[in-house]
């Protein structure tokens, strides 16, 4: 496990962005992740039956796994690029009401194939967060598995990314 991954993975529970160092001594570009967090909550909102993106720590997961060497670099670049693209399309996205956010996101997706690809990719990583082993920082308290009555395979990983114990 590289050092930065270790620090992020051991941060623990809470709102993902609030857990990042606030003194500017981080090389993680936080601004796009604020947009990403908001979009993920729109993609997987609170629902009486299903856990929401914030409940299963979708953004925390993405922050952690995107810092690992195995994360596809072009995906990370595109995730950040898309966040800026969305703000260019709707600069009030972070402050408008959730219902309006959903509507604007649908308009955004219909505006270009790039926009649609970005939301599709972010949705994919949101689902990774929902259903991967909690060792990666998502699927908090196994909310995703419990929601879907999913029995995960045994043995479960003791270390992320198949590191030999």
């Amino acid at each position: 496990m590289d050092r930065r991954f270790f620090i992020l993975a051991t941060i623990g529970a809470g709102t993902a962005l609030a857990l990042l160092p606030q003194n500017g001594k981080t090389d993680i570009d936080i601004a796009p992740f604020k947009v990403i967090e908001s979009v993920q909550q729109t993609l997987f909102p609170e629902n009486l039956k299903a856990p929401s993106a914030s409940q299963f720590m979708a953004t925390n997961y993405l922050l952690i796994v995107s810092s690992h060497s195995s994360f596809v670099k072009s995906d990370l670049k595109f995730l950040k690029y898309g966040a800026n693209l969305l703000l260019e399309y709707e600069n009030n996205f972070l402050t408008i009401m959730p219902k309006e956010r959903d509507k604007r996101l649908r308009d955004f997706v219909n505006s270009s194939s790039k926009a649609e690809n970005w939301v599709s990719l972010l949705l994919y990583y949101t689902l990774e967060a929902l259903l991967s082993d909690p060792i990666y920082g998502g699927n908090k308290s196994e909310l995703g598995w419990r929601w879907l009555n999913h029995n995960t395979g045994q043995p479960r990983p003791q270390k992320p990314f198949a590191k030999v114990v």
């Binding site: 729109t42 993609l43 997987f44 909102p45 629902n47 039956k49 299903a50 796994v65 690992h68 060497s69 195995s70 994360f71 596809v72 670099k73 072009s74 959903d102 997706v109 649609e116 939301v119 599709s120 949705l123 994919y124 689902l127 990774e128 929902l130 259903l131 991967s132 082993d133 060792i135 990666y136 995703g144 598995w145 929601w147 879907l148 009555n149 999913h150 029995n151 995960t152 395979g153 045994q154 043995p155 479960r156 990983p157 003791q158 992320p160 990314f161 198949a162 030999v164 114990v165």
Partner: protein, 546 residues
């Protein structure tokens, strides 16, 4: 130290040779590009094993270029661009660690495709230089040594066997298998219990299958799966005659006076170069990488690559033709409590159409959709081409996981060898070690699609008869990256083949190739059983004559 034999690679094709040699007292060194993960190290971690390049080289370290035919010309893209890796399981034991263990023997007819069915225009079909009888004792040995579970029942094209039945009884079956049998009976098809290289009973230090529900794509934590590592290499290490060097990427074989003298490898951790000397060299790095190594091993005697003065290295690369299909099973087909039972195997094949009215056919294997939850959920985000999210997606995912199971089928038929499916190297595309990567031209023959579609129609009938919903199939001209063979075909004529009948190169007497590269045609089944069997055969030859 100078070894008796140096083997490049550690998968099924490499390990059969190693098993033979070390048990006869030969000192063998094996060079494996990846690390050494054992039973205790494996987990069912979808992220690590299925979603990231952890057990394959990172695509920024090495990659392939792929040539596909688009708009009337061959277009080259890199797998770095497509994020679609052609590497498979680069750890000790190779891709056999991650197989599903569907094991079928070739049939006698596969050894004489040309003389039985005749030539097909645009395809380089030849008969093999050995016949089924020569390989049969080795197929039988694989059943015992690797461990194959199953039950022999008759069907029209069943291959001859020297033993009555498999050494291990069939694995436990999911209740759906009975419904497949019932549907087949009605359709007058003959279902066959798919043999699996998975132990239903324990074998020495290997435990029997524990029905984890996460088999294919994952390493086995009980040792039940017949990986080369569990079944051959771990026992071979106990002889004290086998040395496995991990993280060793072999970049070149040095040659002098028509003999290989050294394997030059890079330690991928330290990036330092090393050399290994041996009397005999065996290459088994999986078909694409095997051809790449030979093509990159140029010398004065072999300016086109080692053992390649015939210009045959890399030619007639094979994959497995066919495709997939599926149907949705729900409570209208069988009680939900039975349907949702996890871990048990479907284990049903249809081999009734191995030959179809004078042409070569293939087989159908039935299996449930993989249990991987991320893959299953992410397929739900599209609805008839529209990206969905929010409550609509949440409801769709919930329904998918709790009320249905997808029964899949896979079609396997011959990938005909053609001039448009080969491995080459190009100095313009190199890995981080400065070694040209393999370029793979992936042209397939239209005949492959025709046969695949015929088989898919038969398989669809079974699903429909069972009452499955949304039955569909897709036969593709694109190759499955994990089912590779050919590229260094064997034969009696040095002008048209790289290897002789013992998989020794025609031109370099101390160089053998023992992975699937030797196959001039691939048959209509997965290759691993044949690769294991041939690897034992090559090991016997090396022992006898060297």
């Amino acid at each position: 130290m100078r070894y008796d034999v140096c083997i490049v690679g550690s998968g099924a094709g490499a390990s059969g040779v190693a098993h033979r040699l070390v048990n006869a007292g030969k000192k063998v060194v094996m060079l494996e590009r990846g690390g050494f993960l054992k039973e205790k190290d494996f987990s069912k971690d979808e992220i690590a094993y299925c979603k990231r390049d952890i057990v394959t080289p990172n695509l920024t370290e090495s990659y392939h270029t792929i040539e596909s035919f688009r708009n009337g010309k061959w277009v080259k893209t890199t797998t770095t661009q497509t994020e679609s890796s052609f590497f498979n399981g680069n750890i000790v034991g190779g891709s056999s660690n991650f197989m599903s263990g569907y094991f079928h023997r070739l049939k006698p007819v596969d050894f004489k495709l040309k003389s039985t069915f005749g030539a097909i225009e645009g395809a380089n079909i030849v008969d093999w230089c050995i016949d089924y009888n020569e390989l049969e004792p080795y197929y039988e040995e694989v059943e015992r040594v690797i461990g194959i579970s199953g039950e022999v029942t008759p069907y029209r094209y069943h291959e001859p066997r020297s033993t009555k039945n498999f050494p291990y009884p069939p694995l436990d079956e999911h209740p759906i298998s009975k419904l497949i049998d019932k549907a087949c009976e009605k359709l007058k098809f003959t279902p066959y219990k798919t043999p699996r290289a998975i132990l239903s009973k324990s074998k020495k230090e290997r435990n029997n299958c524990y029905y984890s529900n996460y088999c294919g794509s994952y390493g086995c934590s009980s040792g039940a799966k017949g990986s080369a590592r569990a079944s051959l290499l771990q026992p071979a290490l106990k002889t004290g005659n086998l040395t496995i060097i991990t993280n060793a990427f072999v970049k070149k074989l040095n040659e002098k006076d028509n003999r290989v003298t050294q394997a030059i490898y890079i330690d991928t951790q330290t990036k330092k170069e090393h050399k290994v000397e041996a009397e005999i060299f065996v290459v088994a790095s999986q078909a694409v990488e095997t051809s790449r190594l030979l093509l990159n091993s140029k010398s004065e005697n072999f300016p086109n690559g080692l053992a390649n003065n015939s210009n045959q290295v890399g030619k007639n690369l094979l994959f497995s033709a066919g495709g997939i299909g599926s149907g949705q099973i729900d409570a209208s087909v069988m009680p939900l409590k039975d349907l949702m039972v996890e871990g048990l195997f479907v284990n049903r094949s249809l081999c009734d159409w191995y030959e179809i009215e004078g042409i070569k056919g293939g087989i159908v294997d039935f299996l449930f959709e993989h249990a991987n939850p991320i893959s299953k959920a992410s397929k739900q985000k599209w609805d008839r081409g529209r990206l969905i999210w929010g409550e609509e997606l949440q409801n769709k995912i919930f329904k998918k996981f709790t009320t249905t199971k997808q029964l899949n089928f896979e079609i396997f038929n011959d990938w005909l060898p053609t001039d448009n499916c080969f491995v080459s190297v190009d100095d313009n595309y190199k890995d981080i070690y400065g070694v040209p990567v393999a370029n793979i031209r992936i042209g397939s023959h239209p005949h492959d699609l025709k046969v695949g579609r015929l088989l898919a129609k038969k398989a669809e009938k079974v699903l429909k008869e069972m009452g499955a919903k949304s039955v569909y199939s897709s036969i593709s001209p694109y190759p499955p990256a994990n089912l590779q063979a050919g590229g260094c075909r064997f034969g009696d004529d040095p002008k048209t083949s790289v290897l002789n009948r013992y998989c020794q190169t025609h031109e370099v007497s101390n160089l053998f190739i023992s992975d699937g590269s030797f196959m001039p045609t691939g048959g209509s089944v997965t290759y691993t059983w044949t690769i294991y069997a041939n690897s034992f055969r090559v090991g016997d030859y090396i022992l006898k004559y060297h």
